[in-house]
């Protein structure tokens, strides 16, 4: 029953059927439309000029990707100037190995983590555990998911698939005390347990919502404060970021903060926005403020800051800061028709808006990323061959693109993926044939007329106007719905009389 929740899989159909038959999940998902999705829409409505803001963000992403190579080097230089270390990971295995090496060399035994989809993408937790290192997720939802050995089922609400009763049961067993199904009590119990972990952890691992090239600053957003504790309390901080997380300047950040909070939760501003620049600096050190652009182009707040500030030492925080920049297929996407997928800021708005996600939930998609953007990212990152159904798991209603703060053309990318799949010879050969023949019927007027004539004459008005069951591949339709019988006379037939009706215009 819980295997889809626990393990990645490629069985979209099986998992979605199971989801449809799980009443608690259906109840939780149906609330999304009036909670997160409604909050998201209301937040756009309440923000003057939100459309301009979204267009501006798209433009920044577009320009960033156009010179990503240059900006990434800027990131490296800036982070190093601020006393941090930068590593390049081509793929998930590289990234895991880098984290393990940092941990091993420093004798790390326990790691606290704040919520990071990138760390899920590289399957970091199992690797750390295998190396004998204890890993503790500190986001409340992720903490529960970890205790239940579940994968997160939503980008920002990882246990949206659970009820409060289930959470009480999981935490009671995990913490060895009987806890009531009350959200406040459960959160308090988790907080008490987590404080001790924060205090004793040897290393903190986070993702990064944004990486600012000019200053080498990473920005981490959270509502619980756990991210700030994760990156400041332990002596070592490791951040893992996809290379698409770069934004050029600190001045670009407020635009994305405004968009991310609204798109994710409908908030004007997330509770914690942590900006981390390098590690603890005992002595004074000049901050990396886009040295190459210093002077002429000085609109960024960082360059407007008093010089004295940039020379201040940083007396607390971790002793070491490590930033791992992850490619894992992204540079290949950069030059493809899926480039816009790199605009994604992982807010989850498309999941909340999607009629399919709201029925099947996140685990059905099989990979790390769920929902409409997951249906694009999972086949791109993990191979279309293994996930041939995901691009089809959409009615192409466009609600995702409307909800997306970056207006990512998800429906178009899904259609593109469908096209790419037809190039994989082993898939859908029968379908290619059916569509090919259908097209011939539409190009030949004679065939089309014969087809229409036959359909209306043979099936028109049959079965009292409604078919209760259909044959073959169409049988699924009539599980839940009746299918209308064709009309007895097509419009084409009716037109012969209609065209001679009198024109009796009123204007």
């Amino acid at each position: 029953m819980t295997t889809y929740a626990q393990h990645e899989h490629t069985d979209f159909t099986g998992a979605s059927l199971q989801a449809l038959e799980t009443p608690a999940l259906q109840a939780a998902l149906s609330r999304l439309g009036v909670t997160l999705a409604a909050g998201n829409r209301a937040a756009w409505g309440a923000l003057p000029g939100s459309d301009e803001l979204r267009e501006r963000a798209r433009q920044i992403k577009d320009e960033t990707l156009a010179r990503l190579d240059v900006l990434l080097v800027e990131v490296e230089q800036a982070v190093e100037r601020a006393g941090g270390h930068v590593y390049w990971a081509c793929n998930a295995a590289d990234a895991r190995e880098l984290v393990l090496r940092i941990a091993r060399e420093r004798g790390v035994r326990m790691v606290v983590k704040s919520k990071s989809m990138t760390s899920e993408e590289i399957h970091l937790n199992p690797a750390l555990e295998e190396a004998g290192i204890e890993v503790v997720e500190t986001d409340f939802g992720e903490y529960i998911a970890q205790a239940a050995k579940h994968r997160p089922s939503h980008l920002v609400a990882p246990i949206i698939h659970m009820t409060v009763d289930q959470v009480a049961e999981i935490l009671s067993s995990h913490l060895g005390q009987k806890l009531p199904p009350d959200a406040g009590t459960l959160a308090k119990a988790a907080r008490v347990a987590l404080r001790e972990k924060f205090r004793t952890a040897d290393m903190g691992i986070t993702g990064a919502n944004f990486v600012v090239a000019e200053t080498g600053t990473i920005c981490i957003i959270s509502n619980e404060g756990n991210a700030r504790l994760t990156c400041t309390t332990p002596p070592i901080h490791v951040a893992i970021a996809g290379i698409e997380k770069v934004i050029p300047k600190l001045a670009d950040l407020p635009i994305f903060l405004k968009l991310l909070a609204r798109a994710a939760t409908g908030q004007k501003m997330s509770v914690y926005s942590s900006l981390i620049t390098g590690a603890r600096r005992e002595g004074s050190r000049e901050l990396a403020v886009g040295s190459s652009e210093k002077g002429d182009n000085d609109e960024s707040p960082a360059t407007l800051l008093p010089t004295a500030y940039s020379l201040l030492p940083e007396l607390d925080g971790p002793k070491e800061f490590h930033l791992i920049l992850l490619d894992n297929g992204r540079t290949e996407i950069l030059g493809s028709s899926y480039r816009e997928s790199l605009y994604c800021i992982r807010c989850g708005a498309c999941l909340n808006a999607c009629p399919v996600y709201r029925k099947v939930g996140g685990h059905a998609y099989g990979g790390v990323y769920a929902g409409p953007i997951g249906a694009v990212l999972t086949p791109l990152y993990d191979g279309l061959k293994d996930y041939p159904l995901l691009p089809h798991a959409s009615s192409l209603c466009g609600a995702c693109q409307t909800a997306c703060p970056l207006k990512i053309a998800i429906p178009h990318m899904l259609v593109h993926l469908r096209e790419d799949m037809h190039r994989e010879p082993e898939h859908f050969e029968a379908e290619n044939l059916i569509y090919g023949l259908w097209k011939l019927g539409l190009r030949s007027l004679r065939l089309y007329r014969i087809g229409t004539w036959l359909t209306t004459r043979l099936l028109g008005g049959r079965a009292g106007g409604w078919f209760k069951s259909l044959p073959g591949p169409f049988s699924g339709w009539t599980h839940a719905r009746d299918f209308p019988a064709p009309a007895q006379r097509s419009f084409r037939d009716l037109w012969t009389e209609l065209k001679n009706e009198r024109q009796d215009g009123d204007s």
Partner: protein, 242 residues
Amino acid sequence: MCIVKVALMITCLGDIFRPEVGVATVRLLRRLGVQVEFPDGQTCCGQPFFNSGYPKLAQDVARHTIDVFERAAVDAVVVPSGSCAAMVKVEYPELFHEDAAWHKRATDLATRTHELSDFLVNVLGREDVGANYRGKVTYHYACHLRALGLKDEAVRLIRAIRGIEYVPLDGLEDCCGFGGSFAVRFPEISGAIVNDKAQAIMRTGADVVVTTDAGCLMNIAGRLHRLGSGVRAMHLVELLQT
């Protein structure tokens, strides 16, 4: 009025399953002083091919459609279906972005093509089309209106009907779960989505639900009929032509 002559794009579903929608469209437009042609060579806009990832086949069908409607020599093409209108207006030019000659022809047709509620409200400037209906009506926003940038045109037309009681639908803009091949490939998911839609419609207490797309109509009406609901699912134009 600048536009005097339009061509009706009936759409393949409309031609076979809901010809009365075409009939109502022709009569309504004539009543508003518009001359209507029906170019007999038309078949399908090619949307099923495009959506299923067969752009070459879609191009082939699109060339046929462009050709047919060019020959009709009309001021505008009116489509009583948002999804087919979106195919022509949004996707046709994109389909031919590597073929300058066809791109121009596609763009010309796209510019002249209008979904019916768009044509009535934004081209003819009519909200009150002189319709009367005594009853309680709700309305489902068909997703492809979003692609066309249309918002409340249909609601404005409904509200202007004399004698009508309009009841807004919960989750008005939520997809009905049709999605063409989606409904065939994932009938259970599609069925669950349309069930929500049908339940929301029944909760309004309306006796009629209208929408602007043959696909949504087929889906919603099919579920309502299976549930034994007495709510009638109609195309907007059928209500406007009462």
